[in-house]
C-alpha cells in the first residue's frame, strides 16, 4: 500500500466519524452519507490537491464533503407536495405531521444554505452546524476570525431573507 493510502487511512481513523456526521447533517440521510463517504475518500485518494499535511488535508476534505453533499442535494431535488396544501393541524407537537413539518423546515434551511456562495456556505456550516470556533475556521480558510464573523453574519442575514420569503409564500 502506498504512503498516500496509509496517510488516508490514518486520516480516516482520526476524522472519519466526524466527516460522516457532517454528511449526515447535510443530507439528513445515513445511507446517502455512507455513499458520499466512499465518494469523498476515493476523490481524496485520487486528487493531486493540497500537500496533505494535517491541516490542509482536513480543510480540503471538509470542503470536498460539503460540496459533495450539496451536489447530491441538487441532483435529487424533486417536486414534493407543498405543505400549504395540507390543512393546518390543531397541535403540531409530537404528531407525525409535526415531525414532517420540522423535517421539511430542515430541508428548506439546507436548500437555502445550498444557494449561498461557496465560501459563505462553508463558513456557516462549520460555525453553526459543526460548531467550530471562528479562529479554527479562519485558520483553515486562510482568513482572519473577524472576516469569518462577517461572512457568517452576512450568510445568516441571507438565510433570513430567503427563508422569510418562503415562509410568506407558504402562509
Amino acid at each position: 500500500m502506498s504512503g498516500r493510502n496509509e496517510e488516508l487511512l490514518e486520516y480516516l481513523d482520526k476524522s472519519g466519524a466526524e466527516l460522516f456526521a457532517l454528511l449526515t447533517r447535510l443530507t439528513l440521510r445515513q445511507d446517502v452519507a455512507e455513499e458520499l463517504m466512499q465518494e469523498l475518500f476515493i476523490k481524496l485518494s485520487r486528487s493531486s490537491g493540497p500537500d496533505h499535511k494535517a491541516g490542509t488535508w482536513d480543510a480540503y476534505a471538509r470542503k470536498a464533503a460539503i460540496n459533495l453533499a450539496f451536489d447530491w442535494r441538487r441532483r435529487k431535488r424533486t417536486p414534493l407536495q407543498q405543505l400549504e396544501q395540507v390543512p393546518e393541524p390543531v397541535s403540531k407537537d409530537g404528531s407525525p405531521l409535526g415531525g414532517l413539518i420540522r423535517c421539511e423546515e430542515l430541508q428548506e434551511t439546507l436548500d437555502a444554505i445550498g444557494r449561498l456562495k461557496k465560501a459563505s456556505r462553508e463558513a456557516l456550516i462549520r460555525r453553526y452546524i459543526q460548531q467550530e470556533s471562528y479562529e479554527h475556521i479562519a485558520e483553515q480558510m486562510g482568513a482572519t476570525p473577524h472576516q469569518v464573523r462577517a461572512i457568517c453574519s452576512r450568510a445568516v442575514n441571507h438565510l433570513r431573507v430567503t427563508l422569510g420569503s418562503n415562509h410568506r409564500q407558504s402562509t
Binding site: 480516516l12 460522516f20 456526521a21 447533517r25 463517504m37 466512499q38 476515493i42 485518494s45 434551511t109 415562509h167
Partner: protein
C-alpha cells in the same frame, strides 16, 4: 421584504447541528471506506474502469513483439521460412495474449455490472424514500380531513340536542302558564266582581 426571525434561523441550525448518526452506521461507513481504499483500482488516478488503456497496452506489447519478430526474421538466415515464423509468432502471441484479454474483459464486465447495480440500489432507495414521504403526507392530510368531518358532525348533533332541549323547555313553560291560568283565572274574575260591588255604593253617592 419579509424576513424570518434570526432566532428561528439559529434554532434550525442548532437542530441540524444536533443530528448525530448512529454509532453502527458510522462504523460501517468507515469500514466500507477502509475496504475501498485498499482496492488498487479505487485509488488509481484517471479513469478507474477504463478498458481502452489496458487494451492499448496489450496492443502495444503485441506490436512490439511482432516488430521484434519481423526484425529477428529479417536479420536471421534467409533459409528461415517467413510464413512458418509468422504462424508460430501468431500462435505464440495468441496463446499468451488471449487469456489475458479474456480475463481483463471479464473483470471489466464484472466491475461495470457492480457499479450499475450499486447505482440502481441508490436510485431505488431514493424513490422508496420519496414514495414513503408522499404516502405519509397524503395520510396526514386524509386524517385531518376525516377528523374535521367528524368534528362537524358532532357539532351538528350538539346543536340539534340544544335546540330540542330549548323547545321542550318552552313547552313546559307554556303548560305551567296554562295551569296557572286554569287554577286562578275564575278566582280573579270573582275578585274583580266583588271589587266592583264594593266600589259601587261609593260611586253612587
Amino acid at each position: 421584504m419579509s424576513e424570518l426571525d434570526e432566532n428561528q434561523i439559529h434554532d434550525r441550525l442548532k437542530r441540524l447541528s444536533q443530528i448525530e448518526p448512529s454509532q453502527d452506521a458510522a462504523e460501517r461507513a468507515v469500514q466500507r471506506v477502509r475496504e475501498t481504499i485498499s482496492l488498487p483500482w479505487a485509488t488509481t488516478r484517471g479513469r478507474p474502469y477504463g478498458l481502452l488503456p489496458m487494451m492499448a497496452k496489450l496492443a502495444a506489447a503485441a506490436v512490439i513483439l511482432i516488430a521484434a519478430g519481423v526484425v529477428a526474421g529479417r536479420l536471421s538466415a534467409p533459409q528461415v521460412d517467413t510464413e512458418q515464423l509468422r504462424a508460430e509468432l501468431e500462435a505464440s502471441l495468441k496463446s499468451s495474449l488471449e487469456p489475458a484479454i479474456r480475463q481483463s474483459v471479464l473483470d471489466e464486465a464484472d466491475r461495470r455490472w457492480q457499479s450499475v447495480f450499486a447505482a440502481g440500489c441508490a436510485e431505488l432507495k431514493d424513490e422508496l424514500a420519496q414514495q414513503v414521504r408522499r404516502d405519509l403526507t397524503q395520510f396526514a392530510a386524509q386524517s385531518l380531513t376525516a377528523s374535521g368531518v367528524q368534528t362537524q358532525r358532532q357539532l351538528r348533533e350538539l346543536i340539534q340536542l340544544i335546540e330540542a332541549a330549548r323547545i321542550q323547555d318552552r313547552r313546559n313553560v307554556e303548560a305551567a302558564l296554562e295551569h296557572i291560568e286554569s287554577q286562578f283565572g275564575n278566582g280573579l274574575v270573582t275578585l274583580a266582581a266583588h271589587t266592583n260591588e264594593l266600589q259601587g255604593p261609593e260611586q253612587n253617592h
